[in-house]
Amino acid sequence: MEYSRQLIQYALSGLSNGAIYALIGFGFSIIYNATGIINFAQGEFVMLGGMLTIFFLTFMNMPLIPAAILAIAAATAVGITFERFAIRPLRKATPLNLVIITIGGSILIRGVAMLIWGKDTHALPSFSGNDPLYLAGATLLPQHLWIFAITLVAIIASRLFFNYSIVGKAMRACSYNRRAASLVGIDVRKMVLLSFTISSAMGSMAGIIIAPLTMTSYDVGIMLGLKGFCAAIIGGMSTGIGMVIGGLLLGILESLGAGLVSASYKDAIAFIILLVILFVRPQGIFNTSETERV
């Protein structure tokens, strides 16, 4: 009985981390589908979400909701600036150059964050208290529920956006074939900018809802970003249900591994899963293989 209770506990915390990974993974795949770029700076927007909210809360004495909204707006502005002034002007946009420039961007954002806010870890207060709820013998914090709810809303909203709005359909057209999209009158550059906008907004939101559980500091973006990427790889870079399953699977495996094997290797588990999937099924678990044209 004790053992199964523990398993449920691990699974619950795995699910809430997994929801975060899925949200971050969405950010990766939205940009990847519109541009073919893996944005290595994705994790920094997650960091910016948490840190900016704390900044608006404590230094400007704002209430939580306006602070969070302002933080998402500010992080999104950083994402737009990055696309406009670093990605778009790039003349030789080879994959190598794109990897390097997004790494440069991530270092720059992280460095500036460190200069502004220092190296301390900060805690964001929970959205609605810390009184635990009990579910099948396992404890659940209200913040976990917030995470599930917000992730669910974000995913449904993005589904509706990509399937039913004209702009969302245009973005999907870009991901299928950029030239064909521009031939039917879609402004591809605008779609690229929009993909950076949406994904930095989503990333910073993920950063805000996880911050009360895990604390935040200038360098949390590396790990969260990489795990979001793991989720995206497992999910096959989709913007659909595959991504959600990818994130949740990663979260649960990681949490079970940490609980049952060793907590100090928790981060290593995610990367071992990443390597195994890249080696065995680089197209993701749910996709069929595509042939590359040269």
Partner: protein, 323 residues
């Protein structure tokens, strides 16, 4: 007056080697000598990465792991098992090269972003391993009292001696790399960089060649790691993390992809920069980020191509003047 390309390369290298070997004469007792020892180690690492990144066009964001493995294998063998330092260095180079050869096959099947992420993941796994296997590596607080290298009665324990030790190795590796880049293998590697499919069509065994160069690159990094361990006599995981992998990539990019002297230039700049930027502590990471972005945007060929462009502009300007 016409020199073959090979001869011209050799003359350039000789001038460079003489300059390197003369430098300490002016710096006896200067702390800069110690900085230059690090420049030597980083030059080795940057060249190793450049063979992969610049010649074969394959990115690695986990090269610090090979450097760390080299350092730790040397450190563990000499302190815990009393293995002779030179022998330990050899063992570590061979085993790290072998490891890279084995993991090279699945890793180098990946391309572009996926390759970047896989090597990054490997680097982070190794970093966690260095930190967590406390019984073996000493964990986060590191491992000390690693013995110096020695030849007969000569112990490499001062900045001056270490300078010649490290730069001896660095110059040797530079010479090998210059030769490699002008060889059949070098040309085959560059053809992979330009187009993997075209190279394969022309009969280059692409996948094996990539794994080979990956393994050589890891082996050189491991030698640099061993030398680092034996000259510093102390290693800790902090030197082998993700940030250092990125710093190595920055060195190669700044110097210029595919340029051996560029790797030296990149290593020298990035190693000395923090020394001069002490005043702006912590600013260095911001500057690396800016450098990466600006170099990729405005000088994708790196400093060496910038210098070459400047030189040709000046010389063509001079030639025009007499008219």
């Amino acid at each position: 007056m016409t020199m073959t390309k090979g001869k011209k390369n050799l003359t350039t290298f000789l001038f460079f080697a003489i300059a390197v070997l003369m430098t300490p004469l002016f710096l006896a007792g200067n702390y800069l000598l110690n900085v230059l020892v690090f420049v030597g180690i980083n030059t080795m690492l940057a060249i190793a990465l450049n063979l992969l990144l610049g010649f074969a066009g394959q990115i690695s964001l986990g090269h610090a792991a090979f450097f760390g493995l080299g350092a730790y294998i040397s450190g563990i063998l000499t302190t815990r098992y009393a293995v002779d330092p030179w022998f330990a260095m050899m063992l570590s180079a061979i085993s790290v090269g072998g490891l890279a050869f084995i993991i090279g096959f699945p890793i180098l099947k990946l391309k572009g972003h996926y390759l970047a992420m896989a090597t990054l993941g490997f680097g982070i796994i190794m970093y966690i391993f260095f930190n967590e296997t406390v019984a073996l590596t000493g964990g986060p607080s590191g491992m000390s009292e690693i013995p110096n290298l020695l030849v007969g009665p000569l112990i490499f324990d001062s900045d001056m001696k270490n300078y010649f030790l490290i730069w001896g190795f660095t110059l040797f590796i530079m010479l090998l790399s210059i030769n490699l880049s002008d060889s059949r293998i070098g040309r085959a590697l560059r053809s992979i960089h330009d187009s993997e499919v075209a190279a394969r069509v022309m009969g280059v065994n692409v996948s094996f060649l990539k794994v080979q160069i990956f393994s050589i690159s890891a082996l050189i990094s491991a030698i640099a790691g061993s030398l680092y361990a034996h000259t510093m006599t102390f290693v800790s995981p902090a030197s082998f993390g993700f940030n250092f992998s990125i710093e190595l990539v920055t060195m190669v990019i700044i110097g210029g992809l595919g340029s051996i002297y560029g790797s030296f230039l990149g290593a020298a700049i990035l190693t000395m920069l923090p020394e001069f930027l002490r005043v702006f502590q912590d600013f260095d990471i911001v500057i690396y980020g800016l450098l990466l972005i600006l170099m990729t945007m405005f000088m994708p060929g790196g400093l060496m191509s910038g210098i070459r462009w400047l030189a040709s502009a000046v010389s063509s300007g001079l030639r025009k003047e007499p008219d």
